[in-house]
Point group: C2
Chain length 435, copies 2
């Protein structure tokens, strides 16, 4: 039986998972692949450090030991971050090695380079694990849904923030205490910015939208807003109104109006398939003109789930090697679509204001909205305290620019003490199978 | 650009969808495939009949026009049923043509023949649309989850019964009236047996379990029980106890105890990811030793969703043809696992009895259960009418044989007028990522 030799860069959480999966499912993988996958060399920072599952593995601190090893046909990159991961992957492909990566940063920012290098050197470049952990989504989009014109892709693709929002919803906790709890459980980093500010989700939706809409979307193209301003009253109002608060990554192909890609919290109707995706689970919802709605659900992170995706990519390459073929599925960004500026995007909005509790206030607010053609679907006035009241308005669908301008006017009104929150409301579209 | 010519057998609901998808997404498909897919000839029973979307298509009543046409490289089979679909597919492969089918009957009963013929003649045989309509599940199992040892696959894979049970749950309707309604809406056939008796789901789980567990499971190997005996009181008790009633298709690899594959109604905990899959939607839940839990959700039937899967298979073959390769992913039934007899399977059970309303009855029932080592987790006694009462017991996990034997004893007790229902209770297992 043919032996396919693998080099791995990095031996952290995911790397350990890869070693376990290759070892513990060895028999099954051989039977399915018709080849023996051998992890020959692993790049680490400190080759002397003891680690779990290291028995029998050759560790090195020298990248050349992998890049110059002609026996190694597949390189798994698990270093994360841009440098030196990107350079190592480019060099590996330059030497005719196939590359599998879980690196969302490189794919979201330098995807184009990677694919061009892949095609130039006649190798495979796979990155299923870069989005949604173990959830199969890259191959399903590139292959299973390829007969569709995808018009929408929407996901809960950051486990940390989903865990935090779930806790806030279920236990009424506030932001700071759930962040602390998430950090204690290891779900959030000491510096949680990448997660709570939506940057991690933005990188992932850039990758997904590029595949779904067949046009290159980079990280910089994504409008991003995190969850740091979400408060218990917002969570409560959402519940009262029949919604849950989720951090959604959204991509929409609006045709002539361009491609709209963004990350922000939303009020999601309780009946939406994504609304019941809780805790650290991820899910990606896709709307295509043939399939209608589809959803992919699972663990978006973790050692073994992510390794599941990494090893599947390795097996895919091994199958290609057995058939002596490569690059069966090309880079699918054949189109060059424009971006829809965030100001031109449309949504309903939830707007919460602290106002003077006196006659005429509602009229003043309605006028401020009306001056920018923002009409209100519903208004709740509650939570009086002393001489102040809270007003919560849900608007009809309006352009983001109009809402922003109305907000400026609201802030300038003497009767408005504070614009406490503005959150988009995602309404369910019913447009299945509209080929 | 290369033209790939296709013959299609059948021009019903799904065939119409295929024509629409190929036509309306033509540009995208060409860009992704690098080839032009041309539907050359369509086999119909009556070539003179007017049909939507037939303009520009060559219809024939003669199968030889397709099978003997050397230009045709791909045959899409949408006739359904065993005869003559199976013979036509075998003959097409015999002539070196690749085959795509949505035919669950043939794959579930004669999968082995089909794969052997495929390998013998060096062609591709794809069947994504045979299970779960448009939902990608065959490729995800064969490729994306291939690094896993799959231990469980569980699905709501019959839209008709899921629609009926959803209506019974939401509106309190009884079985006969929801069946009538489903028939009026076109969700159920005039003869609904294949759906309501679980046979359709059994064919699909035979296919899924074969792929998931890498061993041939045929339709005849699946234990089947339908939903015809589900009554409004069962639905009500389920709600009270925190469950919903679903028709589940379940496959489990129990290791040395064999493979357990069955279709039957269950009480499913409301928090289970499958519990909120309603109406005609389908979903398939998979547990693997690396990925933990994953779920695939979407429309399990319908013209365009099913066509989405059929055309994806066609594109997959077109990509193989472009690379001059085939059979990249072999038949994955390399193992030969034994079946676990239904009597040896284990579950909790919900048992509803009509009994005399007098002292000592509960003791008699508990004794009948206890004699077969069936212990009760909870008991509710309600709905007294005249001198009768209803007792609802939820048992601990027991072997099916023990429960059946206890039921025989219960029926023979003088104080038990009727064993009204016995339904399995599916409890959530928490064994994620246990590689």
């Amino acid at each position: 039986m043919r032996e396919i030799k693998i080099g791995m860069l990095g031996f952290g959480t995911v790397g350990t998972g890869v070693v376990r999966v290759l070892r513990e499912n060895e028999q099954e993988i051989m039977a399915k692949t018709g080849a023996k996958l051998c992890l020959k060399t692993v790049l680490v920072r400190d080759a002397k450090k003891k680690r779990p599952y290291m028995e029998g593995l050759h560790l090195t601190e020298d990248i050349e030991e992998i890049l110059s090893d002609e026996e190694i046909d597949i390189v798994i990159e698990l270093l994360g971050g841009i440098h030196p991961a990107r350079e190592y992957m480019l060099r590996a492909m330059g030497k005719g090695k196939n590359v599998v990566t879980a690196n969302k940063d490189v794919v979201a920012q330098f995807g184009k380079d990677m694919f061009e290098t892949m095609e130039k050197h006649g190798v495979d470049f796979h990155f299923e694990a870069s989005v949604g952990g173990g959830i199969p989504i890259v191959m399903p989009l590139k292959q299973c849904l390829t007969a569709n014109r995808v018009t929408e892709i929407m996901g809960i693709i950051n486990g940390t923030t989903n865990y935090m929002l779930t806790q806030m919803t279920e236990n009424g906790s506030d932001y700071d205490s759930v962040l602390k709890e998430a950090q204690e459980k290891g779900y959030a980093e000491a510096n949680p910015a990448a997660d709570v500010e939506g940057l991690d989700a933005a990188r992932k939706i850039a990758i997904l939208a590029s595949i779904a809409f067949n046009t290159r979307i980079r990280f910089e193209d994504v409008s991003v807003e995190g969850i740091t301003h979400i408060t218990p009253p917002d969570i409560d109002y959402a519940k009262t109104l029949g919604y849950v608060v989720k951090l959604l990554a959204i991509g929409r192909d609006l045709g002539e109006r361009g491609v709209d890609v963004r990350v922000h919290p939303v009020f999601l109707p309780k009946g939406h398939p994504l609304a019941s995706v809780n805790d650290v689970y991820n899910a990606i919802f896709v709307r295509g003109n043939a399939i209608g709605e589809a959803m992919f659900y699972g663990r978006g992170a973790g050692s073994l789930p992510t390794a599941s995706a990494v090893v599947a990519d390795v097996i895919d390459i091994a199958r290609d090697m057995q058939m002596d073929t490569f690059g069966r599925v090309h880079c699918t960004c054949y189109a060059n679509k424009s971006l829809c500026p965030i100001e031109e995007t449309e949504a309903s909005y939830y707007v919460r204001l602290l106002v003077d509790d006196k006659p005429g206030v509602l009229a003043a607010i309605a006028t401020a909205f009306g001056n920018h053609k923002v009409s209100m679907k519903s208004v709740i006035q509650t939570r009086r305290c002393q001489d102040k009241a809270e007003i919560v308005a849900i608007t009809h669908r309006v352009k983001h620019r109009a809402l922003e301008e109305a907000a400026v006017d609201l802030r300038s009104l003497a009767v408005v003490s504070e614009v406490r929150s503005i959150i988009r409301v995602e309404n369910m579209q019913e447009e299945n199978g509209s080929c």
